[in-house]
């Protein structure tokens, strides 16, 4: 049996410095080649899960286990996780004034290559490499000369996230509400990009409020997260059912 990409067991996490507990015993396994959608009402812990997996300093894990390709993910610093192959596409991508987008991407890629004992790319080699990635998210190269996300529209920021994912080629990608704030064209571009990057060796978590994104990216599993736990899992039809019926019936069923 092959090792799963991600194995979360009974995960409990809270806001640091004695803040409220948000994840209350979450268990989830992602095998290679699988796309999992996580849906759920506001405040259920979806974004917290994304942040905990990427090592955000505002949250602390109080118990449980997270294995990434069999290794203890929780022992790693955020930058180590990224270099190991975990990628979070931010719900709100951060603007980084003064830092050139192409240079940022190159530094990120070279950090990973260094960690994997691969040769680093100089500016010229990276520019060539980047040229092959830009079409994935239909981005013009003049965006590369701008500061990271500065002055980008909502759609451009999300496309830039997927571009980073294309450059870093992670084994596990977590897309945190990547569809929020996107118009239909941008949604299609982002979804196409994600589909292009997915393959049998990778796994993906798609956090979303809307079934719409799942018209473009077909998940193998759909989970409902409520009050810090997965209360229901199913296939794609569950998302359609949620779209129609909302969450109340599930919450009652699970009495959370």
């Amino acid at each position: 049996m092959t090792t799963p990409i991600l194995q979360i067991t009974n995960l409990h996490a809270r806001v640091v410095d004695g803040g409220p507990e948000i994840l209350k015993g979450l268990t989830l396994t992602l095998n290679a080649g699988e796309i999992h959608a996580i849906m759920g009402p506001n405040g259920s812990g979806k974004s917290t899960l994304s942040k905990v997996l990427s090592g955000h300093p505002n949250f602390e894990v109080t118990s449980g286990e997270v294995l990434f390709k069999g290794e203890n993910l929780l022992d790693m610093e955020p930058d180590e996780r990224a270099r190991a192959g975990v990628f979070l596409a931010f719900q709100y991508p951060v603007e980084v004034p003064g830092v050139n987008n192409a240079e940022f991407l190159r530094m990120a890629l070279n950090s990973k290559r260094r960690a994997h004992k691969e040769e680093e790319l100089d500016e010229k080699a990276f520019a060539e490499f980047l040229k092959t990635k830009l079409p994935i998210v239909e981005m013009r190269d003049d965006y590369m000369e701008r500061a990271v996300n500065e002055g980008f529209s909502g759609g451009e920021k999300k496309r830039n996230e997927i571009l980073q994912m294309a450059v870093l080629d992670p084994a596990l990608a977590i897309l945190d509400e990547t569809d929020s704030g996107l118009d239909i064209d941008a949604l299609r571009i982002v979804a196409n990009g994600v589909n292009t990057l997915m393959n049998k060796d990778k796994a993906m978590i798609i956090v979303t409020h809307y079934q719409r994104l799942l018209d473009y990216i077909t998940p193998h599993h759909v989970h409902v997260l409520a009050n810090g736990r997965l209360i229901k899992s199913g296939d794609k039809s569950l998302a359609l059912e949620l779209e129609e019926r909302g969450y109340d019936w599930l919450l009652e069923e699970a009495s959370v």
Binding site: P78, V99, M107, A108, S111, L168
Partner: protein
């Protein structure tokens, strides 16, 4: 209101230093500039060496170790070392007109000449300098005028435009005290670019450099000065820039201090003619126990002038940065448009940054803005970079460089080599500051 507390130690330091200065006044060089030197000496005696905590502009200066200097000490090094640099090419811009200050002899025929030679040819210019010395309100400018080692003159005739930058290298490790000076005289519609580097690389002895750049910008002329202080010496680098700007003339200064021990640059820009413009930018990257003091006095004397000041400091270690900028808008200076911004980034717990923006407006139809910020690196941005696999030190360096970047971009130069050089040196200074 600010309470000023006079500390005897400062007063004592100032007076020791002053005493050490006044003695060698009797030994001023007896050259054609004697009248200027005498006038400056007299003026200095009236003004006295500034006493920190008594004088607002010196409030945050730490001059205690100044008392170890004495003007009549013999030079610690050989000034010929200034010319015998071991680097195969110490120059940044190959096409620039290159000068090491102080050379024993200046090449004939260049735009930069020894002031003494110019005075011999045009004795009437001396009267103007004597007048300037009498009018001087800065004691340190007086000091320079009195002791100026080998003052230079840059004179441009009407419509004369230098097609390459003038690159000047001031190596102050060859002399313990240095009083470099350049007097710039630009006739109407002339233009010039100067790149002044202050370098020193000795920690054996302390140094005191008191430089002066005095400029007169004629109507419609354009002067750009980029100053990079990248000294690794234990000492004081004080610079005064004093600029008189006529109608429609443009001044652009970028003042960059990279880990300079006790760097102080006082920039005085007087907008004397309508339509004139002054842009003063600054960047200080400071680590260890270094200090930078960027002081600006921008004087809008007549209507319809514009000015912009933008100063940034990235401060780590136990370093200290001060920006002190004043915009004066005189009663007649209607339709003035003046902006001032000071932004400071603190990278360690013991780093300090002071922003002191002042406005004094006596006209009623003006646009003036000023702002000051002191902050730290954003945790959100740091996490974003680490979530992409970038380690902590690199992330800090990238964000700090991002903070400084627009100041490097804002450097006005016709030379890519100069911009690249400044960017490279800034990067080195950042990297060594972040490593601590």
């Amino acid at each position: 209101m600010t309470m000023t507390i006079s500390k005897p130690s400062d007063t004592k330091t100032a007076s020791i230093f002053e005493a050490s200065l006044t003695a060698p006044f009797s030994q001023l060089p007896n050259d054609v500039l004697m009248a200027m030197r005498d006038a400056a000496k007299e003026r200095f005696t009236t003004l006295g060496f500034p006493v920190p905590r008594k004088e607002e502009a010196w409030k945050y200066m730490d001059i205690k170790s100044l008392s170890q200097f004495s003007i009549d000490e013999k030079s610690s090094g050989d000034s010929s070392a200034l010319l015998n640099m071991t680097d195969s090419s110490p120059w940044v811009e190959a096409n620039a007109l290159q000068y090491v200050i102080l050379p024993s002899e200046l090449e004939a025929g260049g735009p930069l000449r020894a002031l003494t030679d110019v005075i011999v040819e045009n004795p009437e210019r001396l009267a103007r300098l004597v007048h300037a010395a009498h009018q001087q309100d800065d004691a340190l400018s007086c000091l320079n005028m009195a002791f100026a080692d080998m003052p230079l003159s840059l004179a441009l005739s009407e419509n004369e435009a230098l097609d390459a930058p003038i690159e000047m290298l001031i190596r102050h490790d060859a002399k313990q005290r240095l009083f470099p000076a350049i007097y710039i005289d630009m006739e109407a519609h002339s233009s010039a670019e100067l790149f002044i580097r202050i370098e020193g690389n000795s920690t054996k002895t302390a140094h005191y450099l008191q430089g002066l750049i005095m400029g007169r910008l004629g109507e419609g002329s354009k002067l750009t000065i980029n100053i990079l202080s990248n000294s690794k010496c234990d000492g004081f680098i004080f610079l005064n820039s004093e600029m008189d700007i006529a109608a429609n003339a443009q001044l652009h200064i970028s003042s960059i201090a990279l880990s300079a021990d006790n760097f102080r640059h006082r920039m005085d820009a007087r907008l004397n003619g309508e339509g004139s413009d002054a842009t003063l930018n600054g960047l200080s990257i400071l680590g260890g126990q270094t200090r930078s003091h960027q002081h600006v006095r921008l004087d809008h004397k007549v209507p319809k002038c514009t000015s912009s000041q933008k100063f940034k400091a990235a401060v780590g270690g136990e370093a200290f940065s001060e920006f002190d900028g004043t915009i004066y808008v005189r009663k007649d200076a209607q339709q003035t448009n003046a902006q001032q911004l000071s932004r400071n980034l603190l990278l360690s717990k013991k780093a300090k940054a002071f922003a002191r923006p002042w406005l004094q407006i006596d006209a009623d139809d003006v646009k003036c803005s000023h702002g000051a910020t002191v902050g730290q690196l954003s945790e959100t941005e740091l996490f974003y970079l680490s979530s992409r696999g970038i380690d902590d030190d690199t992330a800090k360096a990238m964000l700090t460089e991002g903070f400084c970047n627009d100041q490097v971009q804002a450097i006005q130069t016709q030379s890519d080599a100069i911009r690249k050089y400044i960017r490279g040196r800034s990067r080195c200074a950042l990297a060594s500051m972040i490593k601590g």
